[in-house]
Subunit: 230 residues, 2 copies
Amino acid sequence: MENTSKIIAAVPLFSGLPDEQINELAAIAKVKNLDRGEAIFTEGDVADGFYVVISGKVKIYKMSLEGKEKILHIFGPPEPFGEVPVFTGKQFPAHAQAISNSRLLFFPREAFIKLVSENPSLALNMLAVLSFRLRQFAAQIEHLALKEVPARLASYLALLSEEQSNRRTVTLSISKGQLASLLGTIPETLSRILSKMVQHNLITVNGRSIQLDDLEGIHALSENGKLLDS
Amino acid sequence: MENTSKIIAAVPLFSGLPDEQINELAAIAKVKNLDRGEAIFTEGDVADGFYVVISGKVKIYKMSLEGKEKILHIFGPPEPFGEVPVFTGKQFPAHAQAISNSRLLFFPREAFIKLVSENPSLALNMLAVLSFRLRQFAAQIEHLALKEVPARLASYLALLSEEQSNRRTVTLSISKGQLASLLGTIPETLSRILSKMVQHNLITVNGRSIQLDDLEGIHALSENGKLLDS
DNA sequence: TCCTTACCTTGACTTAAATCAAAAAAAATG
DNA sequence: CATTTTTTTTGATTTAAGTCAAGGTAAGGA
């Protein structure tokens, strides 16, 4: 319990809350351990609560009619997911699966709503988190709709570099096939674009590790999105 | 003031709130009247509050580098918009413009946040609204990423029919050019797909009014998205 | 280490949709 | 009602990216 409180206090979603509320949250939270590949919930399941990633990685995805998987999001610590249907009181709109061995916190719906309705500051935190998420989604739409695949890939690499403390060499936490799905394309196309980027001396690829040789060029590509043949 | 209270009470965002809070909201709200084409805010503006549409229509859009406008959303009464940056405390992430003469309510940020932090039920309402919005966005991404233009158009028509109380003839509230942008395509393509749908006896088009002759077929198209040439 | 399985790459081809250009239709303006 | 202006349609062409098919590479298990 003591342990759980410490973990919860470190989650941005709950940052700035008084100890008392952290403890109340800890009291209702349940720890879940998952193996790589294990399903967390399935599209259509009634949402009985939401999750926070403590360690590992989780993917949120949809299946198309042809059976192809389209990844909407990948969450790592300390991000929450599945919060949306908790407030609309509906089913989960997509599937969630652990893509590496993971440890999650689960917050049951009823108990959590009770806490929120008694704690305006928790409610405001939740509002900020949802708002932020909304913004991310809008950015994603913008990318899918306004930009072509090379630009999306370039943005993703730039984002990864930021996340991994501006290193010049970033490491993919997912397979290239999964990355293709996340970028709204297919492995073949991703592969071709990566090799074009190598030809243009923008990057050097080595398995899952990608060296960003020309950050400036990568940023330019993420904006104007043109990558000529050679 | 009395007037404003009544309007506010009818907005779903504020439904179920006690009279007292409705009056407090009315006290901080400002009415704004806009002409067709007038700008409401611009991408990058500091978000000093959010809006609720009382009458008319508002479009939320982004500009691409080539100067093409990409519509993200169209809001009519009684929908709120611009709430997101109010909670993240940032700038507006897109442009907003009235597409017909409109009347809006404006809620200033500081005063509204104060109200929310004092009223858990208002906070829960906001959470539900944001969650719902998030869900819509996710659905939009799903459409843009997973389906082709004919399927997106078919879904849109089916949605319109629902919104307009399941009439067999729906009326577009925006020009076809704007609809194309909303669907993530261009006028030429939209025009071609519309005529294909006519050829397939799915619809009959008459300016902005579209008769849905084969609802079943339209639903099928929105799912599997194939529309053969003839 | 070998072998099986999953992942990644390359090539030839197809296709949906964008672009360019121009005409036709509809709507707004004087 | 004539005439601009905007919106919509049609046609020819290009292009980005998907599909199909086949190798290649890397990785995990026996």
